[in-house]
Symmetry: C3
Subunit: 105 residues, 3 copies
């Protein structure tokens, strides 16, 4: 099991991305943290925006497809997609994530 | 030092879990992020709930006891307990976490 | 690329820390999660405070300087500075972080 983190411009984008990715069985769960404040360099300026953070929980086997799905449906030129691969769930939770992300449901 | 992350159904559950775990010296600190939106597969449906995320900071030596404590006091059939073991604190913060999670206080 | 996480006493401290660190090119991006609830042991008591969580995204090369900068500008005696070094961004995002954290801009 791994986590894939990405920030989005709006809550609606985060919700749609989460719902659609789960619908494709590319993740078992998505936690969305709203109203984060992001400061970042863009074209020589420090930008200051509101974003939502989506934390996907998925299997390593599905991670590349999930990443491609996020890129195709995100809206930014350069989405901040970051994998946390060293996380360790309980054995039960790992089994559940693997079960829920099987392609042939 | 490691982080143990878990989501709970409500803020009250998160606060009680954090307070009681710290009371047992199973963690030195707990950060609670409220009002996250969680989407997840459960019994063939995509569920959509509000949750709180608890980030415990503890020592590796106490991690198994903390995990058992969370399972015993959580309320879900399958709590999403996820360890982030590869985190690197400053030496001072690591010492503080180890000091505050010693069993024989 | 790595993430450096730190909690601050207030949103204003978090914003200033983020803005100034980015201004020094010590990070490419900072995400701030407000209104987290923190419970922690301090001088024999369990304290209960509101904090903000700052997640910096920077290059490994700049991580020591960023850590020193946070310590110098934070305000706590013992700031909870925690590196997440095992994160894996997309190749494009990694390039962007490295580009934006070059000292000689």
């Amino acid at each position: 099991m791994i986590e894939v983190h990405v920030t989005t411009h709006s809550r609606d984008t985060a919700l749609k991305l989460a719902k659609d990715a789960l619908g494709e069985r590319l993740a078992a769960c998505a936690n969305i943290v709203d109203q984060i404040t992001s400061l970042y360099w863009w074209e020589g300026q420090i930008e200051h925006d509101k974003e939502s953070l989506v934390i996907f929980k998925t299997s390593k086997a599905r991670a590349d497809e999930l990443t491609a799905f996020i890129i195709a449906n995100h809206g930014y030129d350069l989405p901040a997609i970051i994998r946390h691969e060293e996380v360790i769930p309980t054995p039960e939770y790992r089994r559940w994530v693997h079960q829920e992300t099987k392609a042939d449901q």
